[in-house]
């Protein structure tokens, strides 16, 4: 009855030391045991640390930018410094934070556990992609410190090609970061195909894994194009091979095609994992079977695939042909549908649920609110003639911040709270969590909704000096940025505090049903005492008290005699009696 043992989770002898169970955190000691580990959980934690550092740096750049924009006159920094700042903010947030954030940290940690596997398919490759990421980050850092990189994160030629050394270094850094992303995606696809536990059918995958799968597909198929693009750019600025150089008959617009063929799918690399986390948060914290599982699952794949067809909507005014522009506009409207389906299904999942206002749920609700605005303003930009007025203005800036920050970052932080007890074995302070979320939510709307107004009134992006008439709105936006900053610093504070002083986390604080809630908090190195056998879906909240994890009805201390989620014991008389008691 090994399954029962697994379910009840009696640790084996070799997993106990001095009375207390060994977990991935305390099993090995010393810095080397981290740097040389192949344990996906430890790698995930190191990724988490890295991306949060990048987020902090990028955030500080953002605060500086907003501070300068308090007025449209020369202040705080010079124009060249300002141009450098927004380039760094963009490049860091995109390449060092958002793209690796969820796949690298949360997915890396959770994916094998949710599958019921011991590790990802290629643990060494997993560690390698972390080191590749670090290498790229280091090169980017060098380029930033020693270089005048003011091209914006899009590296448009010919402006970027006229830049020398530092720009080449920066492009190579991003080139390397791209390979880290490719390796991670490849690893996850193979893991999801090959490492699923017995009984873990495709339709029993938690939707977070469907989203991760879709993301990985995009990472593997789109990122190489970025690689070759940046390689060509480096060759262009190094040896002027001429492919993008108008003087020699090359074509700058071709660079934009190359760049956006990756970078538009890349925005789905950024948002899809966030959507996946949303499905988990909503279902678990509403304790309700997710509405339209298959629709949500396949809309992820749909978004990933259609996402490859719409890159040209970044180029409506770039000088590309009117026919291409029209086609791209039409396809762009198609990609809106699957995102809409997801949103409707999430709302429908709230119907008839039992909604707890936990911090993760608050972030999920904020996501719904902000992502809806982000998505709808995307429709404005899909409309040909409206886009012509709005593109390259603050309207676009606001739009992608609503999607990327209101979407991905909200989901990321929400997911972080959701799985924090599992990752660290500690509970954080719920009240502070709620306050932090509220501050971020309010500050975010102050900062970026204002920018919709600025944009539609004609305020161009990437401006150091701006027309005086825009000053009041800019100032308001800046005040908002301070509120966001406050919210995030508070969050950082209580999360770090919880590491030492937080209450011990039970196995299943939220009453979740997917496999990760079956393991210890934090999990043991091998994730499960015995390979679990899956007999039910990830969101099978029965709708009766069986649906609620016993652990929750008792004191929050972990109690192995209770059979948490994913109860294989349903077929097992022994476990039945367990439940009755």
């Amino acid at each position: 009855m090994s399954q029962t043992v697994a379910a009840e989770g009696h640790p084996k002898d070799d997993e106990v030391e001095g009375g207390k169970t060994l977990n991935y955190w305390n099993a090995k000691k010393g810095i080397l045991s981290w740097l040389l580990t192949v344990d996906h959980k430890r790698i995930g934690i190191m990724y988490l640390f890295s991306v949060l550092t990048a987020f902090l740096a990028g955030g500080i750049f953002a605060l500086l930018l907003r501070l300068k924009l308090l007025t449209g006159h020369d202040n705080l920094v010079t124009a060249p410094q300002y141009n450098k700042l927004f380039t760094l903010h963009g490049a860091m947030m995109v390449f060092l934070f958002i793209i690796p954030a969820i796949p690298g940290s949360i997915a890396n940690f959770m994916l094998p556990i949710m599958l019921g596997a011991k590790d990802v398919a290629f643990p060494k490759l997993n560690l390698m992609s972390l080191y590749v990421y670090w290498t790229g980050a280091l090169m980017a850092l060098v380029a930033i410190v020693f270089g005048q990189i003011d091209t914006g994160w899009t590296f448009y030629t010919p402006y970027s090609a006229s830049g020398s050394g530092p720009v080449i270094l920066m492009t190579l850094a991003v080139f390397i970061l791209g390979f880290s992303s490719i390796l991670t995606g490849l690893n996850f696809i193979v893991t999801i195909h090959k490492m699923r536990a017995p009984g873990m059918t495709w339709y029993r995958l938690p939707l977070f894994l469907w989203a991760t799968y879709a993301t990985s597909l995009v990472q593997v198929l789109a990122t190489p194009v970025l690689a070759i693009t940046l390689l060509l750019l480096a060759l262009e600025s190094g040896f002027s091979v001429g492919i993008f150089d108008p003087k020699l008959g090359g074509d700058p617009v071709l660079f934009q095609h190359f760049f956006w063929f990756y970078s538009h799918p890349a925005v789905y690399i950024m948002i899809l994992p966030g959507m996946g986390i949303m499905s988990e948060l909503i279902a678990v914290h509403a304790r309700r079977k997710l509405f339209g599982y298959k629709a949500v699952a396949f809309s992820s794949i749909g978004i990933a695939l259609i996402g490859f067809l719409v890159w040209g909507h970044h180029m409506f005014i770039s000088g590309q042909s009117e026919i291409a522009t029209t086609v791209f506009s039409f396809l762009t409207f198609l990609v809106a549908i699957p995102s809409g389906i997801k949103v409707f299904n999430w709302v429908a999942t709230l119907w008839g649920g039992s909604i707890a206002f936990t911090t993760p749920m608050l972030y999920a609700l904020s996501f719904l609110f902000l992502f809806t605005i982000g998505g709808l303003t995307g429709v404005y930009l899909g409309m040909l003639n409206v886009d012509i007025h709005l593109t390259d203005t603050y309207f676009v800036v606001a739009h992608f911040h609503y999607v990327m920050m209101g979407g991905t970052v909200m989901a990321f932080v929400g997911g972080l709270h959701h799985w924090w007890p599992k990752m660290t074995g500690r509970m954080y302070n719920e009240r502070l969590g709620a306050i932090g979320c509220a501050l971020v939510f309010i500050g975010f709307n102050m900062t970026f909704f204002t920018q919709f107004i600025l944009g539609s009134r004609g305020m161009p992006r990437r401006y150091y000096n701006y027309l005086d008439q825009f000053q009041p709105l800019h100032a308001f936006s800046t005040y908002g940025s301070w509120v966001i900053g406050l919210g995030f610093f508070l969050t950082l504070g209580y999360l770090l505090h919880s590491l030492k002083y937080g209450a011990k986390a039970p196995r299943n604080p939220w009453g979740g049903k997917s496999l990760e809630w079956l393991t210890e908090s934090p999990p043991i190195t091998e994730n499960f005492h015995d390979t679990p056998v899956v007999t039910s879906g990830p969101y099978d909240f029965m709708g009766d008290e069986h649906g609620i994890t016993p652990a929750l009805q008792h004191h929050p201390k972990d109690d192995p005699s209770h059979t948490p989620a994913y109860d294989p014991g349903h077929h097992d008389p022994a476990a039945k009696t367990e439940e009755k008691s």
């Binding site: 108008p246 509405f291 409207f333 909604i355 409309m383 012509i388 009134r457």
Partner: protein, 330 residues
């Protein structure tokens, strides 16, 4: 801040409708805004109601196991799809109108450099950072980006700019090696501003031009006079005009505060040291003339030689007037 003008607003959201296509854009804007409000209220409203109605009461709450509803799911797939296609059509029709200029449009050539707009009118008249056009007559601009001369032998390679007149609702990238076009008709005489919306380097945010829509007759007269409207203007005053016309103000302040270049305040007669080690005891007419026509010859210590060459751009008279203007800045 910007001497080239500002943007008049018509509604809370959008600028004044100063071109004939503006109302089409605003119509599309209003349509999509209505759609957006509808869906936003639908989603967020439902969310809030459910969140309150189904808030957790006990740990034993019994939750729904309904996991799909075919009619509902088809509805919220087909309906948005239909609406989206409708929106596409609205946007597309406006776009077609904005793309195909009438045959009789007045052709004005636009050359964008770092960081100035040059306009070449049919009779060869040129103007810089000042876009003049006749009212009530379709105008077609043919644009391209050009190298910026630094000296007789050196250029700064051309980069991408973007031609944006918010009140006209028109925008188009200006790409090196490519000719791109736009057309628009401004029914009424008015003043507004043209902005660069594609990041083009240090002074991107200063790369604007005033837009002057004139009565047809006045425009033709102005064009015939070779764009010279400085007749009888005192030199120093004309110099002030040129100071902003040629975008000197992007780098040279007149209040003493240094930007990417030395301020003009007290420049005349000042002692300056140069990057090549040499120096001049007192700045005089000849030095200023040389610095305008061939800026990289002598670059003041501590600054980069980023100033474009104005040889062939400014006339001798204009140089004299600029010098007269600088002399007044004590």
């Amino acid at each position: 801040m910007n001497e080239h003008g500002h943007i008049e607003l018509s509604t809370f959201w959008l600028p004044r409708q100063s071109s004939t296509i503006a109302h089409q854009v605003d119509f599309a804007w209003n349509v999509v805004t209505l759609v957006s409000i509808f869906f936003f209220v639908l989603v967020v409203g439902a969310m809030l109601i459910f969140v309150w109605r189904y808030r957790r009461r006990t740990e034993h709450d019994i939750t729904s196991t309904v996991e799909h509803n075919f009619r509902l799911e088809v509805a919220w797939t087909i309906l948005p799809l239909a609406i989206c296609i409708g929106l596409f059509v609205v946007g597309f029709r406006g776009y077609v109108n904005a793309s195909v200029p009438p045959g009789d449009a007045l052709e004005i050539k636009v050359v964008a450099t770092q960081w100035a707009w040059d306009f070449i009118y049919p009779n060869g008249t040129k103007s810089r950072n000042e876009f003049r056009m006749p009212a009530g007559r379709p105008v077609k601009v043919i644009m391209s980006a050009a190298d910026t001369p630094k000296s007789d032998t050196e250029v700064r390679p051309a980069v991408i700019h973007s031609f944006f007149i918010p009140e006209f609702r028109v925008k188009q990238d200006v790409v090196p090696g490519l000719y791109t076009t736009l057309w628009f008709t401004a029914p009424e005489p008015l003043d507004t501003i043209l902005l660069c919306t594609e990041y083009c380097g240090d002074n991107h945010s200063k790369m604007s031009a005033s837009v002057k829509v004139m009565e047809n007759a006045a425009f033709n007269e102005w064009m015939e006079n070779g764009g010279d409207d400085a007749k009888g203007m005192p030199p120093a005053e004309h110099g002030l005009k040129l100071y902003s016309k040629y975008g000197c103000n992007a780098c040279h302040t007149i209040d003493g505060s240094p930007r990417q270049a030395p301020s003009f305040k007290g420049l005349f007669g000042r002692k300056e040291a140069f990057n090549d080690g040499s120096e001049i005891a007192a700045v005089d007419e000849n030095y200023i003339r040389e610095s305008i026509l061939n800026p990289t010859a002598k670059v003041v210590k501590g600054y980069q030689g980023i100033m474009p060459m104005f040889k062939g751009v400014v006339t001798d008279k204009e140089v004299d007037d600029l010098i007269a203007f600088i002399k007044t800045l004590k």
